[in-house]
Amino acid sequence: MDHNPSTSHLCRYLEESAARFADRLAARDPDGTELTYRALNDRADRIAGFLAEHGVCPGDRVGLVLPKSTDALTALFGIMKVRAAYVPVDWTGPEERLRSILTDCRVQTVFLDTRRPELVGIAQNTVLVGPDSRDAQSASGCFDWSDAVKHAPANADIGARSTDDLAYILYTSGSTGVPKGVMLTHRNAASYVDWCSDVFAPSANDRFSSHAPFHFDLSILDIYVPLKHGASVHLIPDELGKIPKELARFISAGKLTVWYSTPAILGLLAEFGDFDRLDCSSLRLVLFAGEVFPVKQLRRIVARWPRPEYYNLYGPTETNVCTFARIPKPVPDDRTEPYPIGWPCSHCEALVLDHDNQPVQPSEEGMLYIAGPSVFTGYWGRPAETEALFLERDGARWYNTGDVVREDKQDGFIYVGRRDRMVKRRGYRIELGEIENCFYKHPAVAEAAAIGVPHPQAGMRIIAYLAAAGEATPSIVEMKSFCNEHLPSYMNPDIFLFVDALPRTSTNKVDFQALTRAFQSGERSAVSSSLTPA
């Protein structure tokens, strides 16, 4: 293949912009803190100096357990500047899950919000960030952010940067109940960022939203595309990020030009945003990714904001965005089908294969495979699982996305669904097995099955079917709380149904299709009685 793999490095984007646009705004915190390019690059150099001095070596992993802020952004560049990889996690997540991730990839150092003191000691060194960081730093191996960020820049020899260096690891839901780490190199990310430059033509006058948390792959565009071009990143904190009225105000007050989020957030904006009083006409681009956008909601947001161009971006964390489609405006009143995921990005190639790994006829359904420089190198510590998802063909390494698609001559690929048990909810991937695994930790649960059922307005809903181990059935309140302790909030089921026993196939496997059919036909009461074994 004649791809032209990017020779860029994520740190170079910042450094070159710092040279060209030193005094321009690089990033703004919701609390009003602003960093110029010079300040961001200088502070990141100091964090790099601190990390090098405290034993972080090229190839090491460094955890980020922080809410989104200019400090977190600084830390992330500091980590990459010593040729280490950052591992961002949801700082509000269940302790057990955070421990499992940070120990899985053996982080050498962790940047930790002071509100999660129970995680001190999970790495050799901890840099505490937050209001009481100075009081908390007395423990051994603990340092204070405000000291770290004043450290002298690195002078240790860390060797030459390579675009093959690991840049970050993003953890996604794993079917066995343990999250798996997707490893991405600078080349993987930069080839995608460079594609964004070609298609979206960013300039130093752009003002980008940063809505996604840093542990979510949408953040790659949010951070690196603007910083490559001297534009500004407008960080939206998690709390604000889900309040549509506030988001509309944020876009309007910040005169944002580029918005990127999941359809779920745009749907909420269309439904609850306070548009009558707010002018959002600064927007020139609205990008969405992560899940199917229900057409009704897309039509509504396009009607609210007629000016910007709309793009549907598609791609699993493992490939970055790999196909895209521009949405024609306005959305016709009679359209009910979701828009396609479109054609491959110029840095990627796509193949649609059948069960025997042979290309399907055009317009037939098949599994989507992607090759190109943005495709990840593997799952951390899981070589066999990684290899199982790759296919060697025509001298290239093709990643099996697991997504079933069909090609339309005019519109490109149309997303059909999955053949495994992964669903997307609010842009997050969820392995339903991970939810079931959580239920089995509960002493009162004998059997558990989770299914995903899409709803035209609410998007994907998770339905949990549970059979109790004893006479007493736990309350739904109790099960919700239990899930909350063990799973991220987006994995907490919407509906809990108790049954005497789960339906089984002839081979004694849980019959998920029977559960889905039963749920969809709305026979909830009938389900529980028909599931009772004879």
Partner: protein, 85 residues
């Protein structure tokens, strides 16, 4: 006050805990910190009380301090001048 609490309880049960017994959702059952309400669910609940009781809830008022239990929601509504018996 009891009617207000009851209305909120019925709304939460119907929208977010379908199938749950009303007796399991107590006035002091944590809603946010227990995961019963996630951020999107909270948004819907806030919209519901705004419409139902004719008040406006500012973003900074929609946090855990006012929206974590039926008790705190009712107390918050009282400060907003909602007529409570």
């Amino acid at each position: 006050m009891d009617n207000v609490k009851e209305e909120i309880r019925q709304y939460i049960l119907a929208e977010f805990l379908p199938g749950e017994k009303a007796s399991n959702l107590k006035d002091d059952t944590p809603l946010r910190t227990s995961g019963i309400l996630d951020s999107v669910a909270t948004l819907r609940l806030v919209s519901f009380v705004e419409e139902r009781f004719g008040i406006e809830v500012e973003a900074h008022e929609a946090g855990v301090e006012n929206f974590d239990t039926i008790d705190t929601i009712a107390a918050f509504l009282k400060t907003k001048g909602v007529a409570v018996s």
